[in-house]
């Protein structure tokens, strides 16, 4: 309370700028404003470059599955489908794995072990995506072609999801590598959310006779629910925008297939492969419009994640 009473005073004293302070304010403000300006310019330029494609195809761009540079006809659907499908597959694997690991790190592991493992998880998050792609292309893809793919096909081949020829590259390979790339984020942010849950919550549950797991699953996890969902959204945003690793294993074919074993394409991958060689105004403008779609998709997901994470961290610290 005493500290809170002092704050307005300090604010007032330091708020009165003197001497060189106006200059310092102006200089730093200029740099702050530069960030604002660059971001605004980025959005404006994307919108402007996408102009020709927007004028030609309108909203139908999003729903057309035709992608033909020769006849200059472009549609975004195969790429949106591939992006969403691979990200969904990634989360299907990385959410249980990541949240489970986060529970272990925050609830069970002794502090030393927990810190050491968290450090390793953070290193994992620092591995460049092209390295994931490199490893996937020479290990995951051959394994998928020789054993995993045919195995899945022999057991689940009667469903539409595991039919057709097995190339090794495809939606499932991309989803698998994306799951490895997203769980470091899910683990470290979920762990923070779980650790912000007040101790009393756990103690009360245990005192009522709950087992450790019941206290964790029925009390602690629901308490940190929003933060964990925020962590998942953060992972989702990363998966949607991920370029290199996916480009290397998705198979690069602009089609829509139900089978997870067939090759596809994602928004980021098609831009990476075709933008440098895109001749013709409409072609490159269609690629930029795809970039714009990806950009909008990720900012919405990111904003949701930020809000959810902010809400839980506040909630925990207030009650704690």
């Amino acid at each position: 309370m005493a500290a809170a009473a002092v704050t307005p005073n300090i604010k007032r004293v330091s708020g009165r700028l003197r001497g060189g302070d106006e200059v310092a304010w102006a200089v730093t403000f200029l740099f702050g404003a530069a960030i604002f300006a660059v971001t605004a310019l980025l959005i404006f330029e994307l919108w402007r470059y996408a102009g020709p494609a927007r004028d030609k195809f309108g909203i139908g761009f999003l729903f057309s599955s035709l992608w033909n540079p020769v006849t200059d006809e472009y549609g975004a659907l195969p790429f949106i489908y591939g992006t969403v499908l691979t990200s969904f597959l990634a989360l299907l694997i990385s959410v249980p794995l990541g949240v489970g690991a986060a529970i272990y790190l925050s609830e069970l592991a002794p502090p030393k072990v927990s810190n050491a493992l968290t450090f390793l998880v953070e290193l994992l998050a620092a591995v460049p995506s092209v390295i994931y792609g490199l490893i996937a292309i020479f290990t995951l893809v051959p394994m998928m072609r020789s054993s995993i793919g045919p195995g899945l096909k022999s057991v689940l081949g009667w469903t539409p999801f595991f039919s057709g020829p097995v190339f090794g590259v495809g939606y499932l390979s991309a989803g698998l590598i994306l799951s490895v790339m997203t769980f470091p984020f899910i683990i470290s942010v979920s762990r923070e959310a779980l650790m912000a849950v007040p101790r009393e919550q756990r103690e009360a549950a245990l005192a009522l006779g709950a087992t450790k797991w019941e206290s964790t699953w029925q009390i602690v996890v629901p308490f940190a629910k929003l933060g964990i969902i925020g962590a998942i959204f953060l992972g989702l945003a990363r998966a949607l925008g991920e370029t290199m690793a996916v480009t290397m294993v998705i198979g690069n074919s602009p089609t829509i297939k139900a089978s997870l074993l067939s090759s596809g394409y994602t928004i980021a991958a098609v831009i990476a492969n075709e933008f440098a060689e895109a001749s013709g105004k409409l072609y490159s403008s269609a690629l930029v419009e795809l970039g714009l779609v990806l950009f909008l998709l990720t900012i919405v997901i990111n904003a949701l994640a930020q809000v959810l994470i902010a809400v839980t961290t506040k909630k925990g610290s207030r009650r704690g």
Binding site: A3, A24, G32, L46, L123, P128, G241, A268, I271
Partner: protein, 282 residues
């Protein structure tokens, strides 16, 4: 013990064991990655790899010296642009910003940080490559600086915020002006954290591939100026790994090992700096 309680204890044991297994499975991927890169990359690492230009395909030998130097050039350009802007913006956010403007800058910094790297590449292509009529190291550096700016700004802000209020009060009470307080007391107090943030940021952008694909492009030879297409480690790894030549695959593994070694070393060093000082905020 009733049957119900037996079941509860069993569920407890199974689930808790499972979370431990998940934790070790996830962490072990790091060691798998390291082991795989070492196993496949180490045999191609020789002096030629670091000093020679790429050999034409079909010929063995050759190196990626131009890509190592090119990467250094591009990252240096990005650091020279990104660090000052990010650092000053961080000071603004922490020390000078009001509610509305502070929110606007902070929010756009987070927005910029969340932009997929391939989209950053498109933007840099439009801003630099297209008006200059050519791919260049400069364009690559500018693209990467756009990723470094928000990282540095938000990190600097967070570490400045952690400087205890008493230190500010002390300096102000001694009659120092605000900018004096910032320059001689607050920034030095947060120095270690800010450095860590910068090292982590530079390590992160030096592994980025997507923004370089159509800005710096690539080059089989030395670039003689910053306005020419320039080879870089991540792009070389991508191009070689997706090529059909075995020799290039070997080079890709070795280049991957070098890149990962640099990135992980920077990360470990940064975290060691911070462990001796303040805690690392998220």
């Amino acid at each position: 013990m009733t049957a119900r309680n037996k079941r509860r204890v069993a569920v407890n044991n199974v689930m808790l064991t499972l979370t431990g297994v998940f934790a070790f499975v996830t962490v072990s991927t790091l060691f798998l990655i390291l082991a795989y890169l070492l196993y496949n990359g180490a045999k191609s690492l020789n002096p030629n790899f670091f000093t020679r230009l790429p050999a034409p395909h079909g010929e063995t030998g050759g190196g990626i010296a131009n890509a190592i130097v090119g990467s250094a050039e591009i990252v240096l350009i990005a650091a020279l642009i990104g660090i000052p802007i990010g650092f000053m913006a961080g000071i603004y956010l922490s020390e000078f910003s009001g509610k509305v403007l502070g929110f606007a800058v902070r929010y756009t910094a987070d927005l910029l940080n969340g932009v997929p790297s391939i989209v950053i590449g498109i933007f840099a292509w439009g801003m630099v490559v297209s008006p200059m009529h050519g791919f260049s190291a400069l364009a690559g550096g500018i693209a990467l600086s756009l990723m470094l700016i928000p990282i540095t700004a938000r990190n600097t802000e967070q570490f400045l915020q952690e400087v205890p209020r008493t230190m500010r009060e002390g300096a102000l009470a001694l009659g120092a002006s605000k900018w004096r307080t910032i320059a001689s007391v607050i920034v030095p107090a947060a120095r270690r954290g800010i450095m860590t943030g910068i090292i982590l940021g530079v390590a992160r952008i030096s592994g980025e591939t997507a923004p370089l694909l159509f800005t710096a492009l690539g080059n089989q030879f030395w670039n003689t100026s910053l306005t020419e297409p320039t080879a870089s480690l991540p792009v070389v790894i991508f191009n070689y790994a997706t090529s059909p030549y075995d020799d290039w695959h070997q080079q890709a593994w070795a280049a991957g090992l070098v890149l990962l070694g640099l990135v992980l070393t920077a990360n470990i060093a940064a975290r060691m700096i911070v462990n001796r000082g303040a805690a690392l905020p998220k």
